[in-house]
Point group: C2
Chain length 427, copies 2
């Protein structure tokens, strides 16, 4: 079963808006076991939209159209679909009511009512987040084959609300009963080439298992690497089976196999976990209050920690000691030492403990660039952490530009602290 995605909107072609919707839909299709071989962006032009639908109808079984369902004159997806189907648009009274209900009491301009017009024969998708109903319809392509088309809104969260229903409907129609489960293991510390080498044998083993069993669609697992910039490398494990229970079992088995192969501390988290949620969790387990002292990262570490709901259970706060004077006056650093040095990093970490009343702390000082600081080269970083009264420091040299240096420092510092907390837990 193949599904083509058509994203409608001139702003997409102009690059004013990046097409994240197709990417989301594509990942949802993949998770539902449905292939997507083509994804197209087209502008708010009736002729070209109908051309895209016709092209898609010749080569795909399903079509998902995203965008162009709003109330303005640029919103012509409904019209294009009706034209391809050779039917008129029909106003649905129950949808008129729903739209009016969304505006409940507020003023509603009449043009909003066009959103209640569906191509004759189409049904509204029974999930509605905003004012634009999505719809599903069936029609025949030029070769008289039956094509199913779904139209969903271009507003990301409105589209996401509908996608579960859409993929479920596609699965019912295509008789695809298999279950796909996946998890993502997040790693930090090894480059992709080395990670791939460590897992090469396992990937080969899974490949040959899959080939051996593929003719009867039996259960299988695959590994994939996803780079995520300064968030590290992700290993996605995907398990496919006939039942949910079986898929979960295969997934857990494969996860255990991967964890056995990779060095203990390489995997810092899974799925929704981030370096900061993991650090906060480790502190929370040990009843520790955390404070941070930042220089070049300028608040990034604190802001990532505080982005986590419930971080106040652990995180007391921090000092952004950007100017050297502030390192001295607020954190007690020695003005005779270099701003970027082991001594200053240690003083900052200890200062964070005493000033904020914390149990443990993390401090970073470094030269983001592009210029040297007090003669110290850009990319030079000192990270210090205090735990159980003991201060440990690490010196790093990054070859990056200013922003990458800041971002890599954040995750490296959090990771260093994570491994310290893990070591403490295991002793």
């Amino acid at each position: 079963m193949k599904c083509e995605v058509i994203a409608v909107g001139t702003e997409l072609l102009l690059g004013d808006v990046v097409d994240t919707n197709s990417s989301y839909i594509g990942s949802q299709l993949a998770m539902s076991g449905i292939d997507s071989h083509f994804q197209v962006k087209v502008g708010d032009n009736l002729e070209r939209i109908t051309e895209c639908i016709s092209t898609a109808a010749q080569r795909s079984d399903f079509i998902i159209m995203c965008g162009g369902l709003g109330p303005t004159q640029d919103d012509i997806t409904r019209n294009a679909v009706a034209e391809v189907m050779g039917v008129p648009l029909v106003r649905h009274p129950e949808l008129v009511e729903k739209i009016q209900a969304v505006f409940a009491g507020r003023e509603m301009t009449d043009n909003n009512l066009v959103q209640a017009d569906l191509p004759e024969g189409a049904t509204a998708i029974p999930v509605m987040g905003g004012t634009a109903p999505g719809f599903v319809c069936e029609f025949k392509n030029a070769a008289d084959e039956s094509i199913v088309l779904y139209a969903v809104p271009g507003v990301p969260w409105e589209m996401m609300e509908m996608m579960d229903w859409v993929t479920e409907d596609m699965r019912k129609r295509s008789g695809f009963s298999g279950v796909i489960k996946s998890c993502i293991l997040k790693t930090w510390g090894l480059p992709e080439a080395e990670l791939a080498e460590l897992l090469a044998e396992e990937i080969e083993r899974l490949d040959s298992e899959s080939e051996a069993g593929s003719h009867d669609n039996s259960a299988s697992a695959t590994l994939a690497f996803l780079a995520s910039g300064w968030e590290g490398l992700k290993v996605r494990i995907t398990a496919k089976a006939d039942s949910e229970a079986e898929a979960i079992k295969i997934l857990q088995h494969e996860e255990a196999a991967v964890r056995k192969i990779l060095p203990d501390e390489l995997i810092f988290g899974k799925d929704e976990e981030t370096m900061e949620t993991v650090v906060l969790e480790l502190c929370k387990k040990q009843g520790l209050k955390l404070a941070v002292a930042e220089s070049l990262t300028g608040g990034l570490i604190s802001s990532r920690l505080t982005a986590v709901a419930g971080s106040s259970d652990v995180f007391l706060g921090g000092v952004v000691s950007y100017a050297k004077d502030v390192k001295v006056a607020v954190l007690g650093a020695d003005p005779e030492k270099l701003a970027v040095s082991q001594e200053t990093a240690s003083a900052m970490a200890k200062g964070a403990i005493s000033k904020l009343g914390a149990d443990c702390s993390l401090a970073v000082t470094g030269v983001a660039g592009p210029d040297p600081l007090e003669g110290v080269e850009p990319g030079t970083i000192w990270i210090a952490s205090v735990l159980d009264g003991e201060c440990e420091t690490v010196n790093i040299k990054f070859p990056f530009d200013r922003e990458r240096t800041r971002q890599f420092t954040v995750i490296t510092a959090l990771n260093m602290f994570r491994t310290r907390l893990l070591k403490k837990m295991s002793t």
Copy 2:
């Protein structure tokens, strides 16, 4: 002249990677006066890539292919183009040398040499950022029309390096001599509907001017609104004329017209300026040192300010007083007052001045949510700033989720401070 963009890569269809390349290429085409009506994503499959090229060749004059030029067996763009052209691949010795030079001294696996293979008749693009050369070639479509195809790498910065050359080449070939210049005015404070209303007359005036002169391709200007989430609303002014000098003149004239129509403080910056670069610039002009005290924003304000190169001329640092105790102990807030109150915000702003030795300060305290804090509802924000020894406060209520509340607070606080600094400058 129409250009179709084909982004090659299975990871794009799976949603593992968002297609930002097509968006960038689309915006570059728009700036070069070249229309793009279709942009397609296709996977690493020879048959489907050739199908996309053939489809594009029927409906567009130019094709830009992005991705699939690397050294692995999945990189088959070269092969697909050669197949459509009906020619073999030819290894270019000068490209072999270039590739070897990139690896200079380091080990280079042989597969990298396939990047020196171009379809017979194609020429390498004379700009090369990484190891994959791009190429340009001409061929006839099914209707015997001449089509020009450019193939560029999928690595974003490598593609961006080549795009100036590509658009320049397209312009030469299409005889398009017009010049397009644009600028972006960044606004904060009015919703899009109101902004559109204020500029409605001007947009209408430009539209009728454009219609009147369109038959002889004379100079024109257009306005467009671009939403950018919590960065505000952007008004993009685009001027088109026969010469660069004329285009710049039209642009400046239109910018002045827009600035005259919009309220003085609505436009906070232009093009690369951000709320924080503007605030830092205003402080710098007045020789002021700035410190920040943050609670719910947890370091976001500091990190945005420190992301700006040269911010150390102005920014001393800040305190992230996430826990109430830290507001009290470090900044001198009154423990008897609510953490989220006018009194605490003022104390935080004054504390930042005295503890960090600053001339001016900005402080925010609020309830990010999802739970209330000391009985204060989520979305309740107090912003305080100290300037010339005087403290001003503002109370805001946001209806957003946790992360949006944090982000909107950042820009609202910076904007409040910006207007204070502007007022000071004009007195």
